[in-house]
């Protein structure tokens, strides 16, 4: 005898308990603290902050802990929290030329004012599993005392701009305030400020694949890593009652300025063009991939033929968000009994009449 699905609420509550238990794992192993995640998994924290679009290392670490390390789930947790936060105001635009630099490299010039600074990077590690980490508690050697970096580290793109070799970066007419994508829906055509906002929140894997595709002939943009810099910048706000800017703290940023070849058009002389990437924390892969995709999305404005996925703004921007994508892909596990029943009925009916003449053919 058939009994309708009942007891959904109990089942849900049970799933909570099972989840908490699975997250904790073996209780003989000490519980991971949020401070440990923040300190020792800082790259995971950075990604969750970028794509969660909220700069809060503690909350990002908490989200990672709660999500048992699932980055997309942690990003979702942080976003869902973020939407409930009131807006107190907007900071002034950050100035990355005034960054307290910890890493700065350029692939376009061997020597440049301020020099190349490797900083903390996996680039030249030899990717050998370090079994001393397995044995826990090995003290690392303190880094050699580095010379103080020069205060003046001009951006490579500014050096090129001095000669007029790269397109100037000028705000659009009237310098309109950018759309706030977390408050207003994405509309097409989307201007560059809107696109960059979308890409900054975009899934790193998606951007990586798209950026990669542009290097493999799907809209080649001839990119050079003009400069990548990482470090701390000050955030400033201008409280209305004060009328002048005050610093409210520092955040870590990674910025990538890609320099791309451009042959010129009927209206513009040959010059280099720009692709831009910016992410919270240490996130070089994300910033680089973003700058590649930013540049390909400028195809229309630069009158280039639009043929490849990475050039199609609607395609890229509509599918870049991991929270949207993850939700919709996974909604397929929700019940679809009714729609499936309708299709089942149709397929059975079509199978029953398969091979028989249609009514039109009969009367013809």
């Amino acid at each position: 005898m058939y009994v309708a699905v009942k007891g959904g609420e109990t089942a849900i509550l049970n799933s909570y308990a099972l989840l908490a238990d699975a997250r904790r794992g073996d209780t003989d192993v000490p519980e991971l603290s949020v401070a440990q995640i923040r300190q020792q998994m800082r790259l995971a924290v950075a990604r969750v902050m970028s794509e969660g679009s909220l700069y809060d290392e503690d909350l990002a670490a908490l989200a990672i802990k709660q999500a048992a390390g699932d980055q997309v789930e942690a990003i979702f947790l942080l976003r869902a929290y973020r939407t409930t936060l009131p807006r107190f105001g907007y900071t002034l635009p950050v100035d990355t030329a005034r960054m307290g630099i910890r890493r700065r490299i350029s692939a376009t010039f061997k020597e440049l004012p301020g020099g190349q600074v490797l900083g903390p990077t996996y680039d030249y590690t030899q990717r050998l599993l370090d079994f001393t980490l397995l044995a826990n508690g090995v003290a690392t050697e303190p880094p050699a005392q580095a010379e103080a970096l020069p205060a003046d580290m001009p951006r490579v793109t500014d050096l090129l701009a001095g000669e007029g070799l790269i397109e100037p970066e000028t705000p659009p007419d009237g310098d309109p305030a950018p759309v706030d994508l977390s408050r207003e829906p994405l509309k097409f055509p989307a201007d560059r400020a809107t696109r960059l906002q979308n890409l900054a929140r975009a899934d790193e894997g998606f951007l990586l694949a798209l950026g990669y595709s542009t290097q493999r002939g799907y809209s080649h943009t001839h990119p050079f890593a003009g400069e990548i810099r990482m470090g701390e910048v000050a955030l400033e706000i201008v409280p209305e009652e004060l009328g002048f800017a005050i610093e409210i703290g520092d955040i870590t940023l990674t910025e990538c300025q890609m320099v791309n070849q451009f042959a010129g058009s009927s209206t513009a002389p040959p010059q280099f063009t720009r692709g831009y990437g910016l992410a919270f924390g240490e996130a070089e892969r994300k910033a680089m991939a973003m700058s590649l995709v930013d540049r390909s999305l400028r195809s229309q404005e630069l009158a280039e033929a639009i043929k490849s996925p990475a050039q199609q703004a609607e395609f890229v921007l509509s599918h870049s968000d991991s929270v949207e994508a993850s939700g919709f892909v996974q909604h397929l596990k929700l019940p679809h009994y009714v729609d499936f029943q309708s299709e089942l009925e149709l397929v059975r009916r079509m199978r029953a009449t398969h091979g028989q003449p249609t009514p039109e053919e009969e009367t013809a």
Binding site: S265, S266, T267, E360
Partner: protein, 256 residues
């Protein structure tokens, strides 16, 4: 009688390059005008301007709307313009794949304009589509086949049927016979000539092939470097070309 289409001063630049400059002509109901010239002469730009796919930098295109007389196309609302394009005008692409919906049947292709203009009787849409397939010498029994199952020449005829089903008064054609075998071309040209005569169609045909122009067109417009260098009755221009460029064109075809 008034002209059906009146074009004057039509100009389009691509940056410093001229697409077409100061083109003007009148087209009368039932008249076939061929635009000839080499590739790069501006004939395709002209056709794209006429079809309003491309916006002109200067000049006007006026069309004799039913019940309204000569009307500046630029003054039509987008809705009016689109309605006109799918009822009273037709556009035949060089490559039938660009003018057909390749993922739906021949019947749906021919019936689309009818449905877009409000036809809601499946059986009638279908019989009209079959009727038109017969008129363009396609087997009406193949109405449910996809365009890909037809040969190139048949696809081109299907595209023509798809355009003519609303009985337009003006059809623009872009090299309609290019890319077809010579024997297939001849049959298509015959069909076009017959359709143009029996429906009193006015047409602007862009072609690099003077033989096509001679067979179909009443008048010729010879273009070079974006400008009209010579115009006149087809036989006159081809038998007694005045402009050196036209002379060259005519002699080169004769030598072949």
């Amino acid at each position: 009688m008034n002209p059906l289409l009146q074009v004057s001063g039509l100009t389009k630049r691509y940056g410093a390059r001229i697409g077409c400059a100061d083109v003007g002509f009148s087209l009368w109901p039932g008249e076939v005008l061929a635009v000839v010239g080499e590739s790069g002469s501006g004939k395709s730009t002209l056709l794209n301007l006429l079809s309003t796919r491309l916006a002109a930098d200067a000049g006007t295109i006026e069309y004799a709307l039913l019940g309204r007389g000569l009307t500046d196309m630029a003054k039509l609302s987008e809705a009016e313009r689109r309605w006109l394009l799918r009822t009273d005008w037709g556009f035949v692409e060089q490559n039938p794949r660009d003018g057909l919906r390749m993922n739906v049947s021949a019947g749906a292709n021919v019936g689309e304009r009818l449905m877009a203009t409000g036809a809601r009787h499946y059986g009638q849409i279908r019989s009209t589509a079959q009727d038109w397939m017969a008129r363009v010498e396609l087997d009406p029994a193949r109405i449910d086949e996809l365009p890909a199952q037809f040969s190139g020449g048949m696809q081109q005829r299907l595209q023509i049927a798809r355009n003519l089903v609303t009985k337009p008064r003006l059809v623009l054609m872009d090299e309609p016979t290019a890319g077809l075998d010579v024997s297939v071309q001849a049959r298509l040209l015959d069909l076009l000539r017959e359709l143009v005569t029996s429906f009193g169609l006015a047409a602007v045909i862009v072609t690099h092939d003077l033989a096509v122009a001679r067979l179909l067109a009443h008048r010729l417009l010879v273009m070079k470097g974006g400008r009209v260098v010579e115009t006149g009755l087809t036989d006159q221009v081809l038998d007694d070309p005045q402009h050196p460029y036209t002379q060259l064109l005519v002699s080169s075809i004769l030598q072949v």
